[in-house]
């Protein structure tokens, strides 16, 4: 039986834990209430099976959501690992502080953001989330709490950042925040139409140099000369925040699974055309509340249900810059040939800021993210081809988004760090992902 509360956001694969142990206090040792293998679970927003532990014990940490200290002057926040980035922003944004790196949803926990070493629209400047973690507190299955940072237990720190939860239970972390002006932060955003892939690659460097935030949405159904046409979103912090309290906006919700996903080639083609045309016309600068700039999908609760029972499946790869133009061209062509439609196709440059994490996904170059409704074997075949193409071009896949990567690909793409990483893995911790790729 699969319990929807313990699925991943991609809802595939399903792997039910044999026991679920909520962790309520940093001072407790939760291991006595379950049996190995253990895995911490935050808010379940990763897509594949890195937040699943089929047959094992899930230590759920959303209940570990307290703040511990806020140093307004130095911009340091210490909080428990189950607090979500949204809860942190609710606290700090009205005080003129912001997280230096946020992913596309604010519903991830601090522990999850560290374990997946997430990145955002400013990777070219700020690097990964882990680059802003001052220190973290890790509980290993031996019952010992260890403080980890670049200075203290540095090897364990490097393994835990991006370590997919395999090095133990992250209890708390101290994060370096970014100081902004007074008021609720807003972003000055502009949209520029991209005529094709070449347009993206020729403009990316200049855009990164000029703007804090850059990301491109790609109409992956456009073909031929228009292949890779899309909209380039460029953003920078506005000097002035919004005065007063942060507005509570209305939230939409998808109440039930849709039996047939309305996302198919036809509807996505129509959507993409309208979206592209709309974006072209609306180009120019606008001020946006930080939530609508960074987390547009968060306004629709349970949006993954649009993709039905076993979706959405995500694909995300990082490609070295020299290989990227031809690799992205091949990948998009492959999607089109398979007659699949990706609703959210995103291209973004990855910068050179080094992450402290061993297993961290981003590498300097370009990342492409796609999502698909799960049509079973057809989709699996497409993923196999996409993955092969990534491997041939010297790229790598993102465990947080993955449900299909082969063990061989994983071991090859992360080969240089895996021996060091394995030495830090907690012997009583594992995940469905880890068993799949380490076999």
């Amino acid at each position: 039986m699969s319990d929807e509360r313990f699925e991943s956001w991609g809802r595939f694969p399903k792997a039910a834990p044999s026991r679920v142990v909520p962790v309520y206090w940093r001072s407790e040792v939760p291991f006595v209430r379950g049996a190995p293998p253990f895995l911490a679970r935050g808010n379940g927003r990763s897509y594949g099976d890195s937040c699943l532990n089929g047959g094992g014990t899930l230590l759920t940490v959303r209940t570990l959501d307290r703040f511990i200290a806020l140093d307004q002057e130095r911009g340091l926040l210490t909080c428990e690992a189950g607090a979500t980035l949204g809860e942190i922003l609710d606290l700090v944004a009205p005080r003129g502080l912001f997280l230096p790196v946020v992913p596309g949803t604010q519903h991830v926990t601090v522990g999850g953001a560290i374990a997946n070493d997430v990145h955002g629209k400013n990777h070219h400047r700020a690097g990964n989330f882990g680059a802003h973690v001052e220190s973290l507190e890790l509980l290993r299955s031996d019952g010992v709490r260890r403080t980890c940072s670049l200075a203290e237990n540095p090897e364990l720190f490097a393994a835990t950042v991006g370590g997919l939860g395999l090095t133990g239970l992250i209890l708390s972390a101290t994060l370096r925040l970014r100081q902004l002006g007074p008021g609720v932060p807003q972003v000055r955003a502009a949209t520029v139409a991209l005529r094709g892939l070449d347009d993206f690659f020729s403009r990316a460097e200049e855009a990164d140099a000029a703007h804090e935030f850059t990301v491109a949405w790609i109409d992956c159904l456009a073909t031929g000369a228009r292949l890779g046409r899309g909209l380039f979103t460029l953003g920078d912090w506005a000097a002035e925040g919004l005065p007063g309290a942060r507005p509570r906006r209305r939230r939409l919700s998808v109440p039930v699974d849709l039996p047939v996903s309305p996302l198919n080639r036809l509807t996505v083609t129509a959507f993409n055309r309208l979206y592209y045309a709309g974006g072209r016309m609306a180009s120019g600068q606008r001020l946006k509340h930080y939530e609508s700039f960074f987390f547009p999908l968060d306004h629709v609760a349970h949006w993954n249900r649009i993709y039905g029972r076993d979706g959405p499946l995500q694909f995300q790869c990082a490609l070295p810059r020299p290989a990227a133009p031809s690799a992205v061209r091949q990948l998009l062509g492959m999607v089109a040939r398979h007659g699949e439609a990706s609703f959210l196709a995103v291209l973004k440059t990855l910068g050179e800021v080094e992450s402290p994490g061993m297993l961290s996904f981003p590498r300097q170059g370009v990342t492409l993210a796609l999502d698909f409704a799960n049509r079973g074997e057809r989709t699996t075949r497409l993923f196999r081809e996409l993955h092969e193409t990534v491997a041939v071009h010297g790229g790598r896949l993102y465990p947080a988004k993955d449900a299909h990567m082969s063990g061989e690909h994983f071991r090859r793409q992360y080969a240089e760090v895996l021996p060091r990483f394995r030495a830090q893995v907690d012997p009583a911790f594992s995940s469905s992902f880890w068993r799949r790729v380490e076999g």
Partner: protein, 248 residues
């Protein structure tokens, strides 16, 4: 409570109390937080401070031990000067099978949920009557509305507490002190973490919102969620001759 309220919370590390403390802290409240475990109390008070509490003072004390209550209540009132709100939230769940087998467990369930809170509330009531203002909130339970075979020792303790609170409300009415009885259904907290999940649960944050709303509106008895009120009305009105045959 337009200026930041001054609040004493007994059982401050309970799931419902913690969420209430968060809401109060965000409004700048001055808080004295009483609980058993110093490490848990430290976590709750640090959280309250970050959220904006004007004061969040942890006081570690065993709330099953009435001999310290005079000192505890005097200390808390002394620290805050005057007190706008006292919340009594400590609780211990023990199922009937456990209580049947283990007399000591039954005694603890009665002590934590009934005897000790009543003795504590007596001291609080005297202090508040001296002040001539303030609100007292105590957490009872829907389980106290009628004895059922599955948890009647706990239910009897909570039911006894609710009866005591009704009397206290009546007694303090003329002194200008208001008493709120909160009756939650199954709440998703550490106390209930080991129960099988069949009935719908509510998050403790929902109870916290309901508590503060009840304080503002000076409500007497609130059920959380509200649907328990008609359900428990019906449960209370099933004839005993039928009720005793039911598996509840």
């Amino acid at each position: 409570m337009s200026t930041p309220p001054k609040v004493v919370v007994f059982g401050a590390t309970s799931g419902m109390a913690q969420q209430t403390v968060r809401l109060l802290a965000a409004s700048g409240a001055e808080l004295v937080l009483v609980g058993r475990d110093p490490r848990k109390l430290a976590a709750v008070s640090a959280d309250a401070r970050v959220r904006g509490a004007g004061l969040a003072e942890p006081v570690a004390a065993d709330l099953d031990e009435p001999s310290r209550f005079d000192e505890l209540v005097a200390g808390a009132f002394g620290r805050l000067g005057s007190v706008d709100l006292v919340i009594v939230a400590q609780g211990l769940l023990g199922d009937s099978r456990g209580c049947d087998r283990d007399g000591a467990l039954a005694a603890r369930v009665l002590q934590t949920n009934f005897t000790a809170p009543v003795l504590l509330l007596e001291r609080v009531a005297a202090r508040m009557a001296d002040q001539g203002s303030g609100t007292i909130v105590a957490i009872a339970s829907v389980a106290g509305d009628r004895g059922r075979q599955s948890n009647y020792v706990y239910g009897a303790a909570k039911g006894g507490l609710a009866t005591y609170l009704a009397g206290l409300r009546n007694r303090l009415f003329r002194s200008g002190i208001h008493v709120v009885t909160v009756k939650p259904g199954l709440v998703d907290t550490p106390m209930t973490a080991d129960l099988p999940r069949r009935r719908p649960t509510v998050p403790p944050s929902a109870v916290a919102v309901a508590i503060l709303r009840a304080v503002r509106r000076r409500a007497d008895v609130v059920y959380v969620p509200g649907f328990w009120r008609p359900i428990m009305w019906m449960v209370r009105h099933v004839p005993e001759r039928m009720f005793k045959r039911m598996r509840l």
